[in-house]
Amino acid sequence: MDLLPLILRIVICLVFIAVYALVAVYAERKVSAFIQNRLGPMETGPLGLFQTAADILKLLLKEGIIPKDADKILFVAAPIVIFVSVFAGLAAIPFGPDNTGALLNVGLLFIMAIVSVDVIGLLMAGWGSNNKYALLGALRSVSQILSYEIPAGITLLAAVMMYGTLNLHEISLAQGTYSPEPVLFLGIWDVTSIGGVVSWAIFRYPHLIVAYLIYFIASLAECNRAPFDIPEAESELVSGFHLEYSGFRFAIIFLAEYANMFLVGLLAALVFLGGWNTPLPNLGSFALADWTSGEPGTFAGAAWGTLWILLKAFAAVLAHMWIRWTLPRLRVDQLLKMSWKVLTPLAFLLFMISGIVKLLEVYQG
């Protein structure tokens, strides 16, 4: 294995995540302003474009305060654990037919596992701060993430059952015109040459639409985003587990939060929304799918693949923002009830439906 392309990929991902977070924070402000009928940042640069860059610069120049009674080792290590666990998830994401990332045959499980390590970082931060609000924030955050991991995982498995593989590259391949096996819409109509949205998992197997919605709700909770932002409930907890953090360390925690939104968006796009495949189908002589994707192995293939998967992930991030500024926050008991009494049973139901559909497919073909 060559080390150089590996390091290059890591650096590109890191820079990309940093730039993406800058843009996403700006977008979040503008989206919230639009929803609340305001203008948002307007002073720094044209339309306030440099506002987040200025904010980050300010954060980086600020003094990084470590509280006197904090556990210094855990306090310093926690932001790193949080960011690394999210960032490592990107290793297994295929960004195109050739840029497949780590070709793990359990890629999906790998991402679920590595992201769950994030919880340890939260506990380290909350406990290491030696502040009861930070600890309460961390405990709330962890109980929430653990609860919502179950419906998220089960819905992902319900989708994976239809593919028969956990390899994210094969999962995306199976949802487009380059699929090695025939792509059947609703099990009867061969759409391999048509591609586009009809070959996406959620449309081929309509019960996965519900699975996708459940996954989306659970992913909101896993990112600690509203309406599930109990861990950061400003009115009760000041600001959650990262209460004592300032300066550069706070910036890293913030970066990890935005990176996490991006990662769950990518994962949902890969499993439910066709991966790096184009959403436009071939319609007779209008070969929209062929025009908007390239053969694997060509530059066009890589470029189109990257474009589509990034667009899908950004759409998910935008939806996260939209929901945050539209819905009120859930109470703690409502939040846990939602996960255990609504989403989890529904997820298991979908899991069973997936199993039945797969059995039917096996016995027919």
Binding site: M1, L3, D71, L74, L104, N105, V106, L109, F110, M112, A113, I114, S116, V117, V119, I120, L123, M124, G126, W127, L135, L139, V142, L146, L166
Partner: protein, 165 residues
Amino acid sequence: MALQTALFWIFSILGIAGGIGLVINRNPVYSALSLILNFFSLAGLYLSLQAEFLAVIQVLVYAGAIMVLFLFVIMLLNLSDEPRVEGFDIARGASFLLAIGFVAEMLIILKDVVLPSSPEKFTYGKVESIGNLLMTNYLFPFEVISVVLVASLIGAIVIAKKFNY
């Protein structure tokens, strides 16, 4: 190959460091975190043996779920440092003997192990092979375990729930 060897050494040293840290730390939180480090290094070693499924499950189940519960409980109870035991008592002597016995047992077993020449040939850590085995040779134990797990889940709920008669 050089990269793999380097990773093997890194993971081995980290794993042993985690194990030692687990035992010698007086603070329970640090002990639990050392154990997580140990689990992670073990997962890394599994990965270098091509046992991807095993590695991922190691992280998902142990580091991600069980250890989080451990940490959760430790932090909620806010345990103080373990007191240092002075002198010699029965518990100490017994654990010392047990440790020596365990090391001796490991040495006796490891003495006769023939190391395989290359790990690439082995596929039993992959998801397909584990799934195949569970659904063929081990179907009955697998089903029994599922029933036991469901029973324990229900038992936990019954114990935790306060019934108002």
